[in-house]
């Protein structure tokens, strides 16, 4: 297994900038998740690391050695594709053993590795079938199996779970985590699903528009987003963000939004234009002494709780209430935003 370094990689497809100067370090044995909306360049980055696509600028290093001049074969990485890309004319066993056969591994050893991987994934009974006779979940396992029979420098996974239904996805996610702990491989995992990213990753890399916005632990990505882009992208329902001013008055800082004022408590910030972010689940409803009043517009049930869409001053606001709440549309609700749960941004960048 190897450590991966990506140095100022840029790639254009015609007029489209897929990647703009991306830098990234992934430690040996780390599970690193690239997270971002569709079209943010994360899959392109993966293809560049694998050597399938040549970057316009920049360099890829394995264990500190540049591999830019090496073919995919020489880089010795294993990749799992979103579409699985199983060889339709080969059986499951042949699919899984193909990489070893191409590397002239003795037959007996191929057989042993394939059976080992099949046991790990629970697909031993499928080894003689063709891909067309498998279900989606089984194909996904075979695609994983094809990657893990080899001992590659890197595992690259490109949205491997996106074609599975929700229940299967959750169970395979757990399995992936278990397999990673067992194999101790370096993994770069691409996804647009934040739940996948936060549950799987040792570190999460949030990408958008060809740039890396934040590289952090799942806790920090959620708890301390470094930009409004990350703040909006992570969390469901989406974080509330208000434009306004930070002002100093009565020995403390306040955020003055359109039609409301919030105390920033003991935290002090430079006065001036700013954006206030607060997650729906951090907002508390209170009695009449709570400082903010909102008008409820719409309530949606999500089972474990209710999500309320309301107006705070002129701006829409979203917050969560317990599932047994009796709140109704057109009611007035008093809200409280605990100062320590507020995120403050200036020009899209976190202020503290």
């Amino acid at each position: 297994m190897a450590a991966l370094t990506v140095q100022s990689i840029s790639k254009r497809f015609g007029q489209v900038h897929a990647l703009r100067g991306v830098n990234l370090k992934v430690a040996d044995g780390e599970f690193c998740v690239l997270l971002g909306p569709s079209g943010c360049g994360k899959s392109t980055l993966l293809s560049i690391v694998a050597g399938l696509v040549a970057p316009d600028e920049g360099s890829v290093l394995f264990d500190g050695r540049p591999v830019d001049h090496l073919s995919p074969r020489e880089r010795d990485v294993a990749m799992v594709f979103q579409s699985y890309a199983l060889y339709p004319h080969m059986t499951v066993a042949e699919n899984m053993g193909f990489g070893l056969r191409m590397r002239r591994v003795p037959k007996a050893e191929i057989l042993r590795s394939v059976h080992g991987a099949a046991r790990l994934l629970g697909i031993e009974t499928l080894l003689n079938r063709k891909p067309r006779d498998l279900s989606g979940g089984q194909r996904q396992r075979v695609a994983m199996g094809r990657a893990i029979v080899r001992r590659p420098n890197l595992f690259l996974l490109d949205e491997p779970l996106s074609n599975l239904d929700a229940r299967l996805r959750a169970s395979v996610r757990l399995e992936l985590k278990r397999i990673h702990q067992q194999l101790q491989g370096t993994v770069v995992y691409v996804t647009h699903d934040q739940v996948e990213a936060l549950t799987l990753g040792d570190r999460v890399v949030v990408m958008g528009e060809g740039r890396i916005h934040q590289v952090d632990t799942p806790e920090s990505i959620y708890g301390r987003p470094q930009s409004t882009f990350v703040a909006r992208f992570i969390g469901s329902p989406e974080m509330n963000i208000f434009r306004g001013m930070i002002v100093h008055q009565d020995m403390q800082s306040w955020f003055r939004g359109p039609g409301f004022v919030v105390s920033l408590g003991q935290r002090s910030f430079q006065a001036g234009e700013a954006e206030l972010g607060v997650r729906p689940e951090d907002i508390r409803t209170g009695g009449p002494q709570a400082p903010l009043t909102s008008n409820v517009q719409l309530i949606s049930h999500v089972g474990s709780e209710k999500i309320v869409h309301a107006l705070l001053g002129d701006d829409p606001i979203t917050f969560c209430v317990p599932k047994d709440s009796q709140l109704k549309p057109d009611e007035r609700v008093h809200l409280e935003m605990p100062p320590e749960q507020l995120h403050l941004f200036r020009k899209g960048i976190r202020m503290d």
């Binding site: 293809s47 890309a85 199983l86």
Partner: protein, 282 residues
């Protein structure tokens, strides 16, 4: 209700009639050819309008005469040689060429890609005179190998075109998977692209074989020595000879037609079936 029934019956009857009519139109010449080839000469002379075949009097004499007295055994070998070499060369070159224009980036790629069909737009009749002159001057005209070269110019554009559109339909991820699994570019073509393209390759091979097997114009112009004649050239030679004997020409025609027919029946399954089922998410 009643009217619908009548309409339905009429429609079925019309369909059946149409099918039978065109089937007869297509099959009759073949039937006539085969039946005539099995009849002794005097029967054709006595009853030229007799469509039936007396099974007790089937006669293989015409085939024997055509094959051994008129040199058709040699013509078959010549045709087979020319056709098979043309098929092998066409497939080899068009696989490499079609792969290059679909998957590799190089200068002039678009020009190559669109130029392929432009070559095919020159009719053979335009090319035959200049080529005749060129190869005559080179002193190489009367040769099966030159014929193969000329046939390649006709088969390659179409084979390239067919394979190009098929290669485009193959998911590129399969090739990426092959590359990361440790194949070289040639390995990807040999182990992934070619096995998956079997239907397209069979079609291209059949098409090429048919062109080369049936080709007449160039064979007629280029070949002088009777030992080098191909089948179609031989049939013309036979039918233009003075002592024209009908059942001999018919037997020769059967010999020209049947290999193609058999090939078609044999390859038909492969032409239809797609092979990429199961590769993708599905």
């Amino acid at each position: 209700m009643r009217r619908e029934r009548i309409e339905k019956i009429l429609l079925i009857a019309a369909k059946a009639f149409g099918l039978l009519f065109f089937l007869a139109l297509v099959l009759f010449p073949f039937y006539w050819m085969i039946v005539s080839s099995f009849k002794p000469l005097e029967e054709i002379m006595l009853h030229p309008a007799n469509l039936g075949l007396n099974l007790a009097r089937i006669d293989f004499e015409a085939y024997r005469a055509v094959l051994f007295d008129h040199g058709f055994a040699g013509y078959i070998l010549n045709s087979a040689y020319v056709s098979l070499i043309t098929v092998v060369l066409t497939l080899g070159l068009s696989i490499a060429g079609a792969y290059a224009v679909t998957r590799l980036r190089f200068r002039g790629q678009n020009l190559m890609s669109t130029g392929i069909l432009a070559i095919y737009m020159f009719p053979a009749i335009v090319l035959v005179v200049p080529l005749y002159v060129i190869f005559s001057r080179l002193g190489q005209r009367d040769s099966l190998h030159v014929l193969i070269l000329v046939y390649l110019a006709q088969t390659l554009p179409v084979a390239l075109y067919m394979l190009r559109s098929y290669f485009r339909s193959l998911p590129v991820e399969l090739e990426y998977a092959g590359l990361t699994d440790g194949c070289t570019r040639w390995g990807v073509i040999w182990r992934i692209v070619i096995p998956l393209s079997a239907p397209a390759l069979a079609t291209a091979a059949l098409y090429t074989f048919m062109i080369a097997w049936n080709e007449f114009l160039f064979a007629f112009m280029f070949l002088d020595t009777p030992e080098k004649f191909t089948l179609s050239r031989g049939v013309v030679q036979l039918s233009s000879s003075v002592h024209l004997s009908k059942q001999l020409v018919m037997a020769a025609s059967v010999l020209v037609t049947f290999p193609i027919l058999l090939l078609f029946l044999f390859f038909e399954r492969h032409l239809v079936r797609g092979l990429t089922a199961g590769a993708m998410k599905g």
